[in-house]
Symmetry: C2
Subunit: 256 residues, 2 copies
Amino acid sequence: MRTPDEHRALVDGYLDELALTPELGALAEPVRYALEGGGKRIRPVLCLAAGEAAGSDAEQLLPAAAAVELVHTFSLVHDDLPALDDDALRRGRPSAHARFGEGIAILAGDALLAEAFRLALSYATPGVARELTQATLAMIGGQYLDVTGSHDDVAALHRLKTGALFGASIGCALWVAEVPERDQRPWREFADEVGLLFQIVDDILDDDGYVLSLGRESARGLADETVERAHARLGEIDADTSVLAEIVAALAARTS
Amino acid sequence: MRTPDEHRALVDGYLDELALTPELGALAEPVRYALEGGGKRIRPVLCLAAGEAAGSDAEQLLPAAAAVELVHTFSLVHDDLPALDDDALRRGRPSAHARFGEGIAILAGDALLAEAFRLALSYATPGVARELTQATLAMIGGQYLDVTGSHDDVAALHRLKTGALFGASIGCALWVAEVPERDQRPWREFADEVGLLFQIVDDILDDDGYVLSLGRESARGLADETVERAHARLGEIDADTSVLAEIVAALAARTS
């Protein structure tokens, strides 16, 4: 089995070589710019690691892993727009609209979402595309709650904004690996814990969210409990999940 | 077989009752607002008429027909944004961003696109969702050409911006009706002519596009030739295509 660093290199290579739909023409440039942003590729790495643990191989999994990353990138491009979060910077570079203009960024985000569905639809099973669609809708609902400030439950907001796509990272891998629905439960509960862990650590790094509501020490404690629950879920899975355990440790320890 | 007016009533009823993904929460309001705009529903009516002619029934076809209309509506909501076509009015009402603000309109457009894929993925065959994805990507590419003014071929621009989704209206119906690929050619060629006819008549009504490049009389002549070719394609189809012929006549004669 590959390490998370090897998975990340595979994802970067796949995205670099990804043939976009020819009809997008020169819109391919802002689409590639957004994809190149040098993110950590946590979601597609999780997809590859889960899929390999479940018995599939990276070549089979890569379109699904890339589709998840494209949905994530679509959400960043649109969320960064002036009318939403208004971020001119993304990972130290001009965000898509700052670099290409708002109109082009809107279209590039749309194209990323549609390309994600195209990748998800390259499978014979509709499970991958259905999983991704549900997660996308939840994520859009979460962003709506966030920008309108109409949420009164931070955990529920995070489940939509962050958790849904972490869930799809694992869920898509399960469909590709043909894990029967009756056996998917511990994998999906693991995905929930990973999404929560990612969000708590994000808040600790940003002095935000859970740190504001619980205090720094309790947030750290909550992260530790989440790590334990994630490991417990892995323990219920009859497969070599050591790479997934390694990802959990890295997420808990991350400093950026 | 139903008349186009009956198809339109079915589409309006289906869209009125459409259960949106619960996670969208209050974003459902701008989504429904955009869908209620009182359009002519030409694309979903074409889908129903083609699918019924090919032997399917309206109940089977409605999710696909609605999916096509949702993709069309997504494109209108995003294209109307200030950073793109900057239209504050849509069919005599404030456009989505004028009514709800730009950020909400961006998210509502995203939600419409994702809901369209959800509907397309309700079928066992992946053909419907694949057809819709390809058309969406072509349409986005066309809008990019249009806003950047980087096209030098009006016909090619229209094939992307308008033609692709007309093609999908018929194409999705063919997948639902399980028309084998080897028998799809005349249907798809018919769809091309209908998309072209729609665009020429649009230009005649708006004093735009083909009227500017060919003059009004030649544009009218081109519309008449397109009608003839559309009827010729219907003649190659071994089915009762009388309702499709009626739609062509109505498109050629439309005054708004």
